[in-house]
């Protein structure tokens, strides 16, 4: 199994000279099995580039099916969807797996970003067929050779992470999430930290334990590390973690490699270099390999035999 980053940024895309090396597109990861089956994780602006690549790849005459698993539907994780080229090719099926997070209908919420006031082409009007599947934390499902386990996370309105097993190896995507100590994110606006009730604390404890259990011995974990610890002190209610928190979780779970991800828009390339260096060293002490996600970077989980492309 191997993966390629198409978008590593959080919140909004950041063009310009300061993000050329690490990349400015929002969340999107291409996951491939050894024989080339593709699973897309999140549909931020990075999805446009991936879609161009997929559209160029060989397609069987009876059309292709693309599977997308979404962590949640904040703009930075779905705004690439209207620019996904396969959506404009007939005989194509696009299956979107996402947490419902109290939405009445997934199609209505995700399709809502193409209401005519936002985008000229409605999701229902594109040549490809869209199918929506609700994922539920704790209920694993199969897509091709991938076994996908959704994991509940702590983020405004709700989000899920995913553990994916295939080809005898594993990876996990843990974004977006706040740490599990200060507050439990619910489905309303918070202008500042909201003291957790005793019940909230119990939920947070269970959520954290469940995350660590789900990540047990995973090869590579991609983790929301939007904030430095100083920034987190200022914005603990925004729903994002720090590299310190991520490293702690990965160390407890016995993860081999942690990839820092969902970089804050203000973190320029030089700052990401410093973060990479600092946490590379701290990772060594914790016995976890730490690296920083970069656009177009490819990582291999386990031994990839005969990497190929299957449509």
């Amino acid at each position: 199994m191997y993966l390629t980053f198409w978008g590593v940024r959080g919140s909004y895309p950041v063009p310009g000279a300061a993000t050329v090396r690490y990349g400015g597109h929002t969340s999107c990861v291409e996951l491939r099995s050894d024989r080339g089956k593709c699973l897309v994780i999140d549909a931020g602006t990075g999805l446009r580039g991936l879609g161009k690549k997929l559209a160029q790849e060989f397609r069987k005459p009876d059309g292709a099916t693309y599977n997308l698993i979404l962590s949640h539907v904040h703009w930075d994780h779905i705004q690439g969807l209207p620019f996904f080229e396969p959506a404009y090719i007939g005989d194509t099926k696009i299956v979107v797996h996402a947490p419902r997070a109290a939405a009445k209908e997934l199609r209505q919420v995700i399709g809502g970003i193409t209401r005519h006031e936002f985008f000229p082409v409605d999701l229902d009007a594109v040549p490809a067929d869209f199918e929506f599947h609700e994922v539920v934390p704790g209920s694993a499902f199969e897509i091709d050779e991938f076994t996908v386990l959704p994991i509940g996370l702590n983020h405004p309105f709700g989000a899920v992470g995913y553990r994916v097993d295939a080809d005898g190896s594993s990876m996990a995507y843990v974004s977006d999430t706040a740490p599990f100590d200060r507050m439990l994110h619910k489905q309303h606006f918070t202008a500042g930290i909201e003291e957790p009730s005793d019940e909230d604390r119990e939920i947070l404890k269970t959520m954290r334990a469940n995350l660590v259990e789900s990540l047990r011995e995973v090869d590579t974990v991609i983790y929301d590390t939007h904030f430095t610890s100083e920034e987190y002190e200022q914005f603990p209610h925004w729903g994002h973690s720090t590299p310190e928190h991520a490293l702690q979780i990965c160390q407890e779970a016995g993860v081999r490699q942690l990839v820092l991800y969902h970089h804050a828009p203000a973190h320029d390339d030089d700052m990401m270099d410093r973060i990479a260096e600092k946490f590379g060293l701290l990772g060594k002490e914790a016995n976890v390999v730490v690296c920083v996600a970069k656009e177009k970077m490819t990582l291999t989980m386990g031994e990839v035999t005969n990497p190929g492309i299957v449509a």
């Binding site: 940024r9 063009p15 400015g24 904040h74 703009w75 705004q79 006031e117 000229p120 309303h188």
Partner: protein, 277 residues
């Protein structure tokens, strides 16, 4: 009068090394009068850069005032709104003006952009600054202190956008983005709006060959931008709303060819550049 392009890209932002000179942020244009008044046109990702400048001045202390004219609500023209930091400072007064819509109100559409599914802001009411959303009739003059702002509806595929003429210091800039004129050319109403302007900022998303495949999509070819500039007697033309597929090198080539074909002096709008009108 000065015009600053904070975002010149259409459809979606284009990070990366191939877009550094013209810029990758989606549409945002600031117009400043000698009196110090400013007006902002559109809220694409370019406003996140403008926000840094505003926050270093009176907007950082909650004493800023800013009128914003929205040409329309396609995402590339509003996606910077939730990240426009002056909106998070109590005391700032920000007024969004847009045209009346059919079916939903402008406020409802912006409210939906910030709904809890899509945004941790959960709605416009949670922006600390005062945000006023004002719906006006295109075809009339819109209020913005220090400027005269005339508007007109312009065709954009199956919908319409607001084109505007902003006048101050005896000079006029006309902004006509996301437009596709009828095959016979720019309408008489839009010609009237833009007549003899000092600078015409015009949609030029497609090269002429791309346009043949995308007629009806609601955007202009470079040639139709030139034809519009010529028809209205514009003194200068800024090609705007660049395609996300146009890298710096490609735009250089397109602009060079366009300049040779045009009787109106032209340039391609560049992010971060001030144009004195």
């Amino acid at each position: 009068m000065k015009v600053r392009f904070w975002g010149v890209r259409g459809s979606c932002a284009t990070p990366g090394g191939r877009y550094l000179r013209y810029g990758g942020n989606t549409t945002a244009i600031e117009v400043r009068a000698a009196s110090g008044h400013r007006i902002l046109i559109d809220l694409g990702t370019g406003v996140t850069e403008l926000a840094k400048e505003l926050m270093a001045a009176e907007f950082g202390q909650g004493r800023g005032e800013l009128p914003v004219l929205l040409t329309h609500t396609h995402v590339d023209h509003i996606q910077g709104l939730p990240f426009f930091t002056p909106l998070f400072i109590r005391g700032n007064s920000i007024r969004i003006m847009g045209r009346e819509l059919e079916g939903a109100s402008l406020k409802e559409v912006l409210q939906d952009q910030l709904n809890g599914h899509y945004s941790p802001l959960y709605g416009l009411e949670n922006l600390a600054a005062g945000l006023e959303v004002q719906t006006l009739r295109a075809g009339s003059s819109w209020p913005a202190e220090g400027f005269e702002v005339k508007t007109q509806l312009a065709p954009h595929g199956s919908t319409s956008v607001v084109a505007c003429r902003i006048t101050a210091d005896g000079k006029s800039v006309v902004i006509m983005t996301d437009v596709e004129h009828a095959p016979e050319g720019i309408s008489s109403e839009l010609t009237e709006l833009a007549r003899d302007c000092d600078l015409l900022v015009h949609d030029a998303m497609f090269s002429d060959s791309e346009y043949t495949l995308r007629a009806g999509w609601g955007h202009s070819s470079i040639s139709s931008a030139i034809a519009a500039a010529h028809a209205v007697g514009a003194k200068r033309l800024a090609l705007f709303h660049h395609s996300p597929d146009s890298s710096d090198d490609r735009l250089d080539m397109l602009v060079q060819d366009a300049a040779e074909a045009s009787s109106v002096p032209l340039f391609a709008a560049q992010e971060g550049h001030d144009v004195t009108v």
